[in-house]
Symmetry: D2
Subunit: 405 residues, 4 copies
Amino acid sequence: MMNKSNLELSKRLIPENYVQQAAQALSVRENKIRILLEQRRLPDEGWDETTIEVLLQQLSLMDSNNFPGNCGAGEREARISSELVARRHFRMGHGIGRSGDINEVQPKAAGSSLMSKLTNSLVLQVLREAGAPSTASAFVVPMATGMSLVLCLLTLRHRRKGAKYVIWPRIDQKSCFKCMLTAGFEPVIVQNKLYEDELRTDIEALEKSIEELKAENIVCVLTTTSCFAPRTPDRLEEVAKLCKQYNIPHLVNNAYGVQSSKCMHLIQEASKIGRLDAYVQSSDKNFMVPVGGSIIAGFDKNLIEEIGKTYPGRASAAPSVDMFITLLDLGKQGFQKLLQQRKHRFNHLKQELTKIAEKHGERLLDTRHNPISLGITLSSFHGLEGKSLTQIGSMLFTRCISGAR
Amino acid sequence: MMNKSNLELSKRLIPENYVQQAAQALSVRENKIRILLEQRRLPDEGWDETTIEVLLQQLSLMDSNNFPGNCGAGEREARISSELVARRHFRMGHGIGRSGDINEVQPKAAGSSLMSKLTNSLVLQVLREAGAPSTASAFVVPMATGMSLVLCLLTLRHRRKGAKYVIWPRIDQKSCFKCMLTAGFEPVIVQNKLYEDELRTDIEALEKSIEELKAENIVCVLTTTSCFAPRTPDRLEEVAKLCKQYNIPHLVNNAYGVQSSKCMHLIQEASKIGRLDAYVQSSDKNFMVPVGGSIIAGFDKNLIEEIGKTYPGRASAAPSVDMFITLLDLGKQGFQKLLQQRKHRFNHLKQELTKIAEKHGERLLDTRHNPISLGITLSSFHGLEGKSLTQIGSMLFTRCISGAR
Amino acid sequence: MMNKSNLELSKRLIPENYVQQAAQALSVRENKIRILLEQRRLPDEGWDETTIEVLLQQLSLMDSNNFPGNCGAGEREARISSELVARRHFRMGHGIGRSGDINEVQPKAAGSSLMSKLTNSLVLQVLREAGAPSTASAFVVPMATGMSLVLCLLTLRHRRKGAKYVIWPRIDQKSCFKCMLTAGFEPVIVQNKLYEDELRTDIEALEKSIEELKAENIVCVLTTTSCFAPRTPDRLEEVAKLCKQYNIPHLVNNAYGVQSSKCMHLIQEASKIGRLDAYVQSSDKNFMVPVGGSIIAGFDKNLIEEIGKTYPGRASAAPSVDMFITLLDLGKQGFQKLLQQRKHRFNHLKQELTKIAEKHGERLLDTRHNPISLGITLSSFHGLEGKSLTQIGSMLFTRCISGAR
Amino acid sequence: MMNKSNLELSKRLIPENYVQQAAQALSVRENKIRILLEQRRLPDEGWDETTIEVLLQQLSLMDSNNFPGNCGAGEREARISSELVARRHFRMGHGIGRSGDINEVQPKAAGSSLMSKLTNSLVLQVLREAGAPSTASAFVVPMATGMSLVLCLLTLRHRRKGAKYVIWPRIDQKSCFKCMLTAGFEPVIVQNKLYEDELRTDIEALEKSIEELKAENIVCVLTTTSCFAPRTPDRLEEVAKLCKQYNIPHLVNNAYGVQSSKCMHLIQEASKIGRLDAYVQSSDKNFMVPVGGSIIAGFDKNLIEEIGKTYPGRASAAPSVDMFITLLDLGKQGFQKLLQQRKHRFNHLKQELTKIAEKHGERLLDTRHNPISLGITLSSFHGLEGKSLTQIGSMLFTRCISGAR
């Protein structure tokens, strides 16, 4: 807004050299935006809040509902009734996408569209740097992980006419099980196998399942990376090999796995060695934004595009905006620092829990394949079982410690 | 926060009678909140922004991520990285719902849950007052209309095992057509019939379709209320009668129909005379919030609950918060005023377009059954067709008039 | 920020014609800013909130504390500790002015300086249009009216060595009396004279005072425009004539007089006919900003500049920012509408109070020279006096009617 | 707002135990506020932004302009025209103080008054803990240091009728010199004396001045603590002794001295040994708020009150609100951490400058009595003088290093 001619005019009011210095300061910020538009990558250093706000504001002014003199006669005009609502969305109202494709540009919303495109670019790069450099395409979808898996499954339906089974190495997480049902498929559960302390994918049982059901009846194999100990991430590489061999799509629930280089590495390797079509992750669990979005990514650009086109209609821009802000705020360095912190804290927790376990005659489970979660025996509570376990949970809860199971 | 004991303490600093008057002013706002919690209905008069903000802030403080001394060790802790993001969501991060049910209460998010429950209550009442008083249940879902229709269709699948057809009186709207495909069903298109200027539902053809396909193979009939002239809202009552007779679910796409008492009346009447299971509407098109949410409502409480339970996992709270703010901001009077304004402007537009049409030797189509949209002949452009029509669109566009087709 | 080259780059992400339309929309706002910088006058139409915020944000980025890479080693670096404080001041921290002059440009704060300059220009124009077109200079000072009058008096001291009296037609307003004492002068009170219902300036008594004290001992005559009935605005023209004749400075307390064309007209006429050096008005009472600032204006540019130079050190920018926002938000039309409303409401109040007075056997005082305030007899309360008058006040107070005396 | 009865009602919507836990979380914040009101001291730990905002919001609701149903008929009703302005001031518009006293409670503004009282209490405690525990009274005044010194001087005038000299050990700071002139007094400059590298107060010359001018003609001695090397803080203890001996008021310009325990210690000791009436400090320089306020403090409660009563009229609340937020945000620990950081960085700067000076054949001045500022010889620039010195300044400036002289 304080463009060249406006800066020039300012020299009538304040001395020229002050204006020049200010102009230089403004141009530093303009350059940040230029580099973002040019490279569409995470900035090395995070941006300050002001620069982020300025950019969002300018993008918002590029949407038709903020055009001076706009006269919207239709039903899709991004009218916003409440000022409070308008402000919290930076006056962006059009959402993202068009009827035909959640990733398409909206003619009425150049700014929102630009924001969405940029966010998807940043997200793709983050996934690549987090450990899956071969990722071909990615986009933010304003639905949580479960519903996003539904969308992937519904897309696969078109490619796998007649198939109705989803092979699924068991994971005790409701919404994951439910997403197969919601998509209208029949989950075929493959029980995990105990290897010492760990529950790991039973590859033989999985292959047996495939042979019994026949490849053409199988929509996909749905594996999981991030999970609670003593279960470990699925053996993606071996599953991927089977999927390639039998020509079956392979979908990965990577819910909170981006934060773990091991999970990401598994995904990357599996995609190299065998077949891995798409992987889905939560935006709130990996990028610390409010619940509501997820990222669908994959190694086959066409499939990812097809998933985007399966979404009918426009969609909320809020999760994209949250990701946009958060990624610019963190920058590459900020994000990497968070990853390191998590790793460090995980090791610290492991050490301390080992000590506590020993002190109480218990034992930390050896679940070295699970880089995210830890388990501890509670053998001294044996016999009392249910009741006392609930009691522990409740004691933790009232001490404001949440997240333990 | 300035509770009784804190107000009492204030008397040590400022005179007692000033404190008393202030206490009274505070209690007026507390009472508004009390009445909202008690009645869970739209306030007659809209609230001021401050009262809305205060309530949201207090609700937010009831979520565990804002508990002083909270120590979250799990993956669902509503950590928010960016302050800018935190602020725009009033520091609410847990979203709504649980793995099992989008309408369930979250133990970690008492405040967000309360907000969501209240919003759904307000929304139900608004629909009832807008013309469908028999509506039994309603909830805000953080997906746009198309994807919400998908969710409804996926829920119906469980009730209609084996069925694969959706009977659909044609409407030229991409995302509506797409939603049936995305849900994995086969749309059976029933062409509309021209009655003078109007394109209306061909009831006979529809019944014929049912008989040909057989009721048990039909997932549902999907009708539409709000649409562009010369098409008119579907003849819901007659369709509902057939659905009842053949025992077929009836789903209504009421995208932008809440604003029209006629559309709502059609829905209400159809539910009385025949069968109408659920109707879906856009939150942005009817309540002027940013794109991203819709409202699923219906006359069968069990079905609506089942739809909520079909959604796998937690979901974005943003569309609910937007609706919550907007409805409290408008109040009953504000909302009714908007409805009246729309009616008034529609009539004004009709009058003026009639004049303009006459002036140019054209004619406003007589589409009296369509209470929302108007059509005009462009016969003088005949012959040139495509090109000049596009030109008109482009001329309107550069004059900042959007929404015309 | 979305400058030409950044818009150009955007075309790689979204279609060119969308970018062009958005660029045009952006340039409309840039033009508003251009015109402001060029003409430094109130825009005819008020600006929308977004444009105001964008401008403030850009100005803020022109201050050195917001320069990327700034390294402030001194004590005047506008460090802001709390983010909440930073945000509410748009990250402007340098205040306005320099040690030597409250109206001087700060090298470290080009943006704040520009804002301050523009505000003073807008304010000058508003005063001119409100009825005093000959006003030569004006500036916002971040002190309320009383303290600003002190500043004027302290400035006059330098011009009137040895003088110690201020001649002051009585007005029962504490801070006005106090300001003379605070400035270290001796108020010489000239009692008003009753003309029928009105208390008006006693010009003869005033001239007598001048002659008794001798002109050279008099710092100035301090008159008042806005006041409570039955007192009327001072007879500025006649006082001004005397001031000219005796060569005595004339200072006007125009506290809430800008809103009244009559008060402004008095000031203008007095400056033409006689001598009127400076007039001071409250920013909150005339322009509906929070308490804290006032406007010092006058017909002698040198004196006004001297007053600005008398203020030692930098000063709060908050009142200027509030004025800047408010004036841009209102625009010329908005401000004139407020003036008309006030006039209309005053007449309405007059009519209704007349009726009520008659109904209760009382009488509205005929104070036609007071365009702002009304008085009513309370003769039926006679005898009980003090107590019952207090009771009336208290009854109004508990009914939330404030401002009555 | 979510008071007991509203929480009780919430149990109809969400499970009782969730409400209870949330209620407990709310009460933690209510307790913080309770303790603040009870003790009126800086909290040990800083508050989070939300708690601060909630408190400000509630206080704001206690002001009459935010009363539901308020009908303000007067000129002091805190009407706020622009929503943007209203929000940035938390809808507080009444300012602080009354006509008679800047520290008095306003009947129309219970909340603002409470905020102001609390701020002054917090400020008093901070000064005591920073090194002047005997301080009897303190208040925030919405004028920068220079104008606040004027206010102090104007107050002293009433106590020192006829006196016209201010004795002032020289300090090269424009606004300090100007404040004596603005107050209408005659500065009597006492030149400093060179002790090795340091410029220190010449006590003998000062006493000589007193004797020459005679005590009764002297308004006060005005000393300075914080200053640029090679000048050092004035020898307050010795000056205070003289002031006591000759019965002359002693005013201290402690502009940016609160951050230095040495400066505060000087003040405290001087007040014990001799006479020190009041000391004035900048709020921006010591507490990192935007320019605009200062703190007047002293050891004689009556004098400080008198200064407050000298301010005519109400005043801006903005500097108080900024201080209120900042002090609650920092807490005792946060403030002490800042003080330690400053000390640490000062020593670091000293070390590094010593090295650089040596490297270039220069020398860091030995100004051990100045705990805030450092000087360096620039002897190699000798001969070129003016020009090259300016060049250094300019080179630092373009490298974004400001604050060097």
